[in-house]
């Protein structure tokens, strides 16, 4: 039917027809990108120059940006919290994931069961997990401090001590590192065994094999996960919203992450214009990270399948 329509409109060349078909197929995505990405971006860009509360607009030039960079202490606090968190969390979870994956790539008794167990937390998703960790991290009768007490350590007041709130979140994320572990595992399993055998013949030990074969071959995906992880850290919201109890990012603002601050500005104080300026700053950070990622990965990381051309 669509073919007949094209004929009627005089699109006869094969190339022209293919193009028409192509656009029909990607149409839903085109609509989506216009309505849910580009449109919102343009809209938020415009209103980021306004005092806007969803009811009335009043353009105020660069004031929102000025306020963001020079006046809003909480902006910097939230940005700092997010960076500190991501710089701690991303490497730890990555290293943890690689180590577990390497171990689980050996032939060990009960392997399948172990893989399932390690993966289990990453499918225990939802708010319930956050509440569970609030319970586990209770300073007096939570499981974590009880276990620490057994080995003679007096555990901290995880979620009420501002110095320990971020480690608390990281602990929770380490528990759920199975998702990343699986990625590395899949990659490891695609490494031909003869690489290792050849290395063994050369007298390489386990550690040498790990550093000369495993790590280089895992490098693309590790690198990818690092950047994705840092960008992902700018997605952190529930941790702050739920763990601080009232969504203010307490104690001492230590759980006020970028997104929580943005959320509070947008949906609590209804400073929509200001929140949109924050959206754009976030967008800029992500774009810079993405470009850096591509530039560095071109130099640094070897992709087996040349995938970006088509």
């Amino acid at each position: 039917m669509f073919g007949k329509l094209l004929t009627k409109f005089g699109v006869k060349s094969r190339k022209g027809r293919e193009t028409a078909y192509g656009y029909v197929f990607i149409l839903p995505w085109l609509i989506g990108i216009v309505c849910f990405v580009l449109g919102p971006l343009v809209f938020s860009f415009i209103t980021s120059f306004a005092d806007y509360n969803m009811l009335k607009v009043n353009f105020i030039g660069l004031s929102n940006y000025k306020k963001m960079f020079f006046q809003d202490q909480l902006f910097w606090k939230s940005l700092g919290n997010t960076l500190v968190y991501s710089l701690l969390n991303v490497p730890l979870v990555t290293v943890g994931g690689v180590i577990v994956a390497v171990i689980l790539n050996k032939s060990i008794w009960g392997l399948r069961t172990f893989r399932t167990i390690y993966y289990l937390p990453s499918i225990m998703v939802g708010v319930g997990t956050y509440f569970l960790w609030m319970l586990l991290l209770d300073p007096a009768n939570g499981l974590v401090n009880t276990l620490l007490g057994l080995i003679g350590i007096k555990g901290p007041a995880w979620l009420t001590d501002p110095n320990w709130t971020k480690p608390a979140i990281i602990l929770m994320h380490l528990w759920g590192l199975g998702g990343q572990m699986l990625l590395y595992l899949a990659r490891l399993q695609s490494i031909p065994q003869d690489y290792y055998e050849a290395a063994s013949l050369d007298g390489a030990g386990m550690f040498k094999k790990f550093t000369t074969i495993t790590v280089p071959l895992l490098s693309p995906i590790i690198f990818y996960n690092l950047t994705i992880g840092i960008i992902g850290a700018f997605q952190v919201f529930q941790e702050g919203y739920i763990f601080s109890g009232d969504g203010t990012g307490k104690p001492a603002g230590s759980l006020l992450f970028y997104n929580l601050h943005l959320w509070n500005q947008a949906f609590k104080n209804f400073k929509t214009g200001y929140a949109n300026a924050m959206c754009w700053f976030l967008f800029a950070i992500v774009m810079i990270l993405t470009v850096c990622n591509q530039k560095i990965s071109q130099k640094w990381v070897y992709y087996e399948e040349g995938d970006n051309d088509d």
């Binding site: 995505w29 050996k106 060990i108 939802g126 569970l132 997104n259």
Partner: protein
């Protein structure tokens, strides 16, 4: 040779012990969740904590479930999940076909945009999108949670395109010679072949929509429309939390995904592989 084997054996045992200890650490919190769910209120607050309750209060699950209209919340969540899956599975496989099997002007550039948008965190567009939905008067309906699923998702499109690319073009060319159009090829030839990746997308969508907290938090205000994730908050009262009930319903809320995982483990893992391999 002998020494080496023995050494390997010792190494294996050491690794096994490490793994076992790690596994205990992973399973302990889950066990804690269950044991809390079965405790009485005084036992929850007891210091030092008890590993197991005196009496296993299985009825806690029933009591907790009736503390709020959780059956309704579950139904609401399933409605959102259902439409999200339909949208994601069909629309993305449709779009991905376009990107992998049709040659058209501008494809290269547009696909770069797909890749670029994979990186954009949702919060970048959260506020403006919210304004748009509220002006459309879609706030307090499920539409803001469902409609975007019908407009393509960069990650899923990418994943499906990778899969389409493993299907040889000869198959398609043969059909084209027979006079088949792209719609036919997509619907009749490709669909059966890309079933595995569709299943993966469906599972990922299920997991995402089922556990979504921030979307419903923002868009749903009528309590009758709440999803199960929002519903869990009823146990967090002013100054007093019914932890045993909260854990009971939290656990119940995780069962669907756990069941799906154990039934379709391979699809889950495959999804991770396809997603991870190319990156």
């Amino acid at each position: 040779m002998m020494i080496k084997q023995r050494k390997n054996k010792i190494a294996d045992i050491v690794l096994f012990v490490i793994l076992a200890v790690g596994a205990v650490f992973i399973l302990f919190p889950i066990a804690w969740m269950l044991s809390t769910a079965l405790k009485s209120a005084p036992e929850v607050a007891m210091y030092p904590p008890k590993l197991l309750p005196e009496k296993l209060l299985l009825e806690n699950f029933a009591i907790a479930w009736s503390k709020a209209p959780f059956t309704r919340y579950t139904t609401n969540t399933l409605i959102i999940v259902f439409f999200t899956i339909i949208g994601n599975v069909f629309v993305n496989s449709f779009v991905a076909y376009g990107f992998s099997k049709i040659d058209f002007a501008g494809k290269k550039l547009l696909f770069k945009i797909v890749l670029a948008t994979m990186m954009i965190p949702g919060f970048v567009t959260l506020v403006p999108t919210y304004v748009i939905f509220s002006k459309l008067r879609w706030v307090n309906t499920y539409l803001p949670l469902i409609v975007p699923a019908f407009c393509g998702n960069a990650f899923h499109i990418f994943m499906m395109r990778q899969f389409y690319r493993t299907i040889p073009n000869e198959l398609m060319e043969a059909a084209r010679v027979d006079g088949a159009g792209h719609f036919y090829i997509w619907g009749k030839l490709m669909m059966p072949l890309v079933k595995p990746v569709m299943a993966t997308v469906a599972l990922i969508s299920f997991k995402g929509a089922w556990s979504d907290f921030q979307g419903p938090l923002l868009y749903l205000s009528d309590k009758n429309k709440y999803t199960i994730q929002l519903g869990l908050q009823v146990f967090k009262g002013q100054g007093y939390t019914e932890w045993n009930y909260l854990m009971a319903v939290s656990f119940l809320s995780m069962i669907p995904i756990l069941v799906l995982f154990f039934c379709f483990q391979n699809y889950f893992i495959e999804g991770m592989n396809v997603g991870g391999a190319v990156k």
